[in-house]
Amino acid sequence: MSSTLAGWLQAVALVGALALCYRPLGDHIAKLLTSASHLRVERGLYKVVGVDADADQRWPVYLRSVLAFSAVSVLFLYGLIRLQNHLLLGLGVPEMPAHQAWNTAISFTTNTNWQSYSGEAAMGHLVQMAGLAVQNFVSAAVGIAVVATLIRGFTRNRTDRVGNFWVDLTRIVLRLLLPLSIVFALVLVASGTIQNFHGFHELTTLAGDPQSIPGGPVASQEVIKELGTNGGGFYNANSAHPFENPNGFTNLLEIFLLLLIPFALPRAFGKMVGDHRQGYAIVAVMGLFWVASAALITFFEAQHAGTAAQAAGAAMEGKEQRFGIAASSLFAASTTLTSTGAVNSFHDSYSPFGGGLTIFNMMLGEIAPGGTGSGLYGMLILAIVAVFVAGLMVGRTPEYLGKKLGGREMKFASLYILTTPTIVLVGTGIAMGLPGERAGMLNSGAHGFSEVLYAFTSAANNNGSAFGGITVNTDWYDTALGLAMVFGRFLPMVFVLALAGALARQQPVPATPGTLPTHKPLFVGLLSGVILIVVGLTYFPALALGPIAEGLH
């Protein structure tokens, strides 16, 4: 079989598997977000934690719960990392400096999983499983909880209650993430991913050299790293590492897992608003961008532009032989379009336009399909903007799903859209203006600029993948990127929750002949256009200085 055909078949198999899961998984998520009954184990948990599970919260209270949970998580994780040498399974790794521990704690709490450390050299097993992996679960659940409030904003009327954060969090973890993780972790182990509590295993190689084989509870963390769109590798090489991703099957499974929940959430949205066609419209836009991006990156990697890639004869630098070009490109497109950031090949060595597209994917704001929860709320905000733009064209107050989009609603939507680009562009600008930070780039010229731009885009969009070339374990980058992750995660959440509150308060307006149908191909086109214009106008100058300049060179 030719590698082109095999590449196509992989993509088709992936789409087929996702399509099969769309309805059952989406319906399951909708049910757990709306059901009035609690499981017995959940009741016990609420009792221990001290939560009144039947009392819904107003949006500021919901927001305070999200922020309190995240703040406590950062502090707990920071403490665990700093104290790991004194705890079980510390493996004798050196103490992590304060700025790096801070950056790492923020990174995992914000679902970013930016890593300025190297997993095998800096982390003991206890921190990996009881610190990092726990945040992989709960940070994913926080994203889904926040989008649940936005959907409730559309479905609830004349109320100031948007849901109960503690109940949402518990149900998402226990009814969705944990069962899937147990099943797929075992599938990964059966396929070769390791799962043990060993330290380094010393042996002598065939040629007589000493080699130490690492151990660790890898599969249990690998699965939630993808499923929760987190992306922080157990090892430095992330999903390129043979112990995380041993073969072609596990590779496709990992891509499937990182796309699974983000692509099923539009179904949950459609079900909750009582019109499945609304979900289909949203998933169509997500799918459109994903297909286009995956096809383009594969095309550019197969072309292998660039002097080094031309000299080699194929763009295999930074890619694994068992995956090859097609499976690496598919992973790259999927990981940067969701907010995952796991990598099975290294984007810094991608061809100029291939690597440029991975940056562009993140600049879209992680919406196609985006991170767990954060992807859908990002897309719904853009849908609101699209409806508003259409309303301006005909000169009437627009409405979406029966809710009027007035000044207050549009203010929150606009603030949401402005937040991330501001963080990315200001951060990149400052880094380029400081001689010391500029010197941290491995490559020079336009490619070096792309490295810095990639870092801030990745942090502010909570992606977490890296172009890799810059030295980021410095006081300045750890602090600056840490701040970018915090603001890039929580400011948008503030605006989403405020918007949810504003929408839930409204009395619904009946649809009239003048209402823009938001389930038709026309709306899919309009929304896609709005996304491209908003992102294009915001980032074009920065892209022109980096990947575009390099690609046209």
Partner: protein, 209 residues
């Protein structure tokens, strides 16, 4: 009766209790359960697919290794070890196949350093294996993503057959057959890429009588 705690404090205590409960379930019970089941059902794989030769552990079939000649001065960090012609050679590794330092070169597609390195590798490999420089495949002259890639392309393995056979005084047919036996196609026929596992292949080579 004592004064009730302020709301903000109560909120953070709830958050802390929730985090602790989640840590027990997700951070301890879950990985212990998965490890327990894995060790019962898939012990070999869960423990790193370790391969043995003559009863001795010689590596993991998933983690690549160096097959170099001993250095003239083992303590000299500057000296680069030369490839041993008796073995099939793996891909280049940014971390020298040290599992403590997985990772890639991160050099860009237009990097002058990388272009120069690739060109030099092509010439060296062509000479080493006695083949035309243009025929050396891409995986042979590039560094992998993990730095631990255990695999090479079929084309690169085939180019090494004559050299290995000559060094080991074996018939080339026999070595070529060994390569064929260690060629893994795409999983299920279409997943991933065709490859030859160098660790497994060299192990089989060393066990030939």
């Amino acid at each position: 009766m004592s004064k009730p705690l302020p709301n903000a404090v109560r909120n953070h205590l709830t958050a802390l209790r929730m985090l602790l409960v989640m840590t027990v379930i997700l951070g301890l019970a879950y990985p212990l359960l998965v490890t327990g089941l894995s060790q019962v059902a898939f012990a070999g794989k869960a423990n790193g697919s370790v391969v043995t030769s003559d009863g001795k552990e010689v590596g993991s079939s998933l983690i690549g290794q160096n097959f170099n000649l001993p250095k003239k001065n083992p303590d000299d960090a500057e000296e680069t070890a030369l490839p041993d012609p008796k073995w099939f050679q793996p891909r280049f590794s940014a971390g020298g196949y040290d599992p403590n330092a997985s990772g890639a070169s991160n050099l860009g597609p237009n990097s002058e350093d990388l272009t120069k390195t690739v060109t030099e590798r092509r010439a060296a490999i062509a000479e080493f294996n006695g083949v035309a420089p243009a025929s050396v495949p891409a995986d042979a002259v590039t560094a992998s993503g993990s730095g631990l890639d255990p695999d090479i392309s079929v084309a690169y393995a085939e180019q090494q057959v004559n050299r290995v056979a000559k060094e080991r005084k074996l018939p080339a047919d026999q070595v070529a057959k060994l390569v064929e036996q260690h060629t893994t196609g795409r999983t299920l026929g279409f997943l991933g890429n065709e490859h030859v596992n160098v660790v497994e292949l060299n192990k089989a080579l060393s066990e030939l009588k």
